[in-house]
Amino acid sequence: MAKRFKPQIATGNDLLDGDVVYFTQGLKWSRFIGDAWIATNEEAAEVLQKEASKFPNDIVGVYLTDVAIDDEGRARPDHFREDFRMRGPSNRPEHGRPVERA
């Protein structure tokens, strides 16, 4: 039996400032996870990986990660590591990063 596919997004870090970025359907990179392009099946994930890897001199450490989907159909972290990447260090909330577009 085929394993049930978990929705995935592509994420990485900006080459210049290292900030966490997410790959969007517009083939661009966003600082907000809510903008992320969500792959919902194997084939889509392959395309996502391929497209997201086309920026070797702008974005580093690109990888696909499992996500949950919120009520509005947007990606949300599925693992605590991704949650910290999204929010910033928990010991210094003043250095947290905005999760939502202002």
């Binding site: 080459l15 210049l16 290292g18 001199n57 910290f84 910033g88 928990s90």
Partner: protein, 553 residues
Amino acid sequence: MYEYTDFDEAFVRERVAEFRGQVERRLDGSLTEDEFKPLRLMNGLYLQLHAYMLRIAVPYGTLNGRQMRQFAYIADRWDRGYGHFTTRQNIQFNWPKLQDVPDMLEALADVQMHAMQTSGNCIRNVTADHFSGAATDEIADPRPTAELLRQWSTDHPEFTWLGRKFKIAVTGSEHDRAVIKAHDIGLRLVQDDDGNPGYEVLVGGGLGRTPMLGKVVREFLPKEHLLPYVEAILQVYNLIGRRDNKYKARIKILVHETGIDEIRRLVESTFQENLARFNGVNQEVFDRIEASFAAPEFEPVYDVTPAVDAGLRSWIDTNVADHREPHYAIVTISLKGIGETPGDATSDQMRIMAALAEEFAHDELRISHEQNVILPHVPRRHLAEIYRRLKDAGLATANIGLVSDIIACPGMDYCALATARSIPVAQKISETFADIDRQRDIGPLKIKISGCINACGHHHVGHIGILGLDRAGVENYQITLGGDGTETASIGERAGPGFAYDEIVPAVERLIEAYLDHRSEDTETFLEVYRRMGPAPFKAALYPEAEARSNAA
């Protein structure tokens, strides 16, 4: 303190220029990320969870006020106003931008500092006893040796692309404050029967996934043969150390799998062959290095009024150690304020520590591997004033060596390798035991926390060690007991199943209650009780349900 020669100065400036070029080549695409990564790592630049991180070397933990001030300047100019002192006596800045890093390195060069070899598979920043030159039990100052090794290992053509990182620590005292047994090479300054200076050489120690204590490879190495001998160890390691598995690539695994006797044979034969090419350091160069670490000109003895203020007395009890000059003292400034991030200091705090060193303490500071800052040469008559100023800056926590003086790696709040958080666990333990009188009643206790198996938080050598892991997508904390990083070193033993994030602090509380219940007298320490009674009473306290079940059975 060591002052840069023209050669050091030119070398460091050239390296900054070289790195500037490497950053440019990365930005224009002539270097791929795979190629750039080891080059940036060799200049201390990591990419972490949220940003880059620049790790700056504080060679053997020694710096002066001007250098500390420059950290404050860097923190304010290019980072976010604070820095993190690490278990390798370094400082890390958590928010630099790639294009700014060459300028940051230039600012470091302005004060005779650098970030070279604070990362990468090379010989890392050499560490030493943070009480060097001041300790009462010192045979010889380890810092000239550490500086010699720093110079020799810098941009070493053979040993910059090793199978894995390589760490060297040096101590010159009976009491080991530098954890030399947990290093790839540990050196202890000793004398032979005729009083000639030399080293006891240990090899193959290390923490990480497979913790091991170093073994003696040479009982007495004459001082002048240090470099050719260390070179032989590195050469053997570089050629036959494993490269097939990152977790088996440290020299400790080679020593373990090959056996110390065979390693000794290989090292000795390589050493003999190499002597023809390089029979040791130019003694003139070494003499110059040694001279630069001469003791400061100590002031004469003044009368000191005994401390009456209770806070001051308590601080002197815990944070002040005896100096080899009886009218001097060694002050440890705690970077472990209750509820604070262990090892963090703001730029303002850095400037205050710099000022205290300049005004009162022969302009010298140290960073300890326990993530505190030390004023090694303080006339006792200044203690009250120093305490007052530290207190105003929130730096007078009187907890050195106590339960809240916790080592913690950055963990998943910053580190890309982490599997769980460390800092908030340390913060919560510290808050739980906030009462300093209670801490003093509990007595000497070393809690060390790592956020992953790489063990940057030294958890294996904590009396209580805590290792944060990812268990099926949830933070989980394993406890080890009975570790010790001193001359009586031992690796802690795992106590049993791990604890959830919310359970770990209560578990530590139960361990400490068990210790208090079982100590035979107030002066018996946690480690002594553990060594006397073994893990049973502590396991019973950690896992009361299991205990109840076995009692019922």
